[in-house]
Symmetry: D3
Subunit: 66 residues, 6 copies
């Protein structure tokens, strides 16, 4: 009965990309662990760049510096 939470930065990910992520992760859990698709939930959280810190700085700031 897997529950998967995928957290990524909010970067204009499309519904088609989300569908592919959900399909592939579900397939992995079904194939590797024998889980049932109907017990498998995958929730994607998109996080604003101002809310994701990495290396001590906000991602929004890190991108401005690049």
């Amino acid at each position: 009965m897997p529950y998967v939470n995928v957290r990524i930065t909010r970067d204009g990910v499309t519904a088609a990309q989300k569908a592919q992520i959900v399909a592939e992760i579900t397939d992995t859990l079904v194939r590797v662990l024998g889980k049932k698709p109907d017990h498998t939930h995958v929730v994607i959280d998109e996080v604003d760049l101002d809310n994701w810190g990495f290396g001590g700085e906000l991602t929004s700031e890190l991108r401005r510096q690049r």
Copy 2:
């Protein structure tokens, strides 16, 4: 000191429904486990239909198929 996270699809849940969920879950933890209400936090996350996958497909797609 319970912390409860309720994740549901975003489906127009009203503030009154959220208040009832918070009241009932808090009551359960106080009554069954003897927790103090003032130590009990319940956070509700509403997830867009495009971001919740189930059975290998997005909920938004599953609803279109019904």
Copy 3:
């Protein structure tokens, strides 16, 4: 398709108490939001007293002080 995560301190909660918590929270979500029981997952995490901080101190230390 609710997913609920209940985090509590590890305090010898019994399987019967866990079963009651799962039954009541599921009932709340079915009754208040019309969710299906077969789509409702409730996961309980028991956290060691040394790993739960409250008010700036570990719970293990707070209990020694009482």
Copy 4:
């Protein structure tokens, strides 16, 4: 900068299976979203059967009934 949390029941999953899950989910995020492997974390939580409720009952109880 993805962070993925995979929650499954504790069922004797081997390190080789965990390695395959991590490799495949990382590959999915790199291929579909262009994420960097070195920014991609996948954390697997194994949950005791007494702590995972489904359909209003503990998984430990559901398995006894089968």
Copy 5:
């Protein structure tokens, strides 16, 4: 390889405040545990007042009563 999730009510926190929180928490983990900044992610979730329950009531309601 720390991952930190900070959940707070949505109260107009500024990017400068978020940057300070990320910088300080990263510094704590580097200094106390010897973690590498480049392995340290801090994600801030801002939760609507209607979605955070405390003491059995929604925060939005608690603030109206004050």
Copy 6:
């Protein structure tokens, strides 16, 4: 009403180190955001090396390769 979840690899972190992490993160949230200590929970999850994937490999495997 902050809730903070710190996830780190299980590496023999001491109760004193945990206490310092809790004290410092609570202090950050009180000082930067004006939060009340009595509303601030910090939960530390220690994750086995076989359960934390990074860069597509388990941390346990990455350490063997060093």
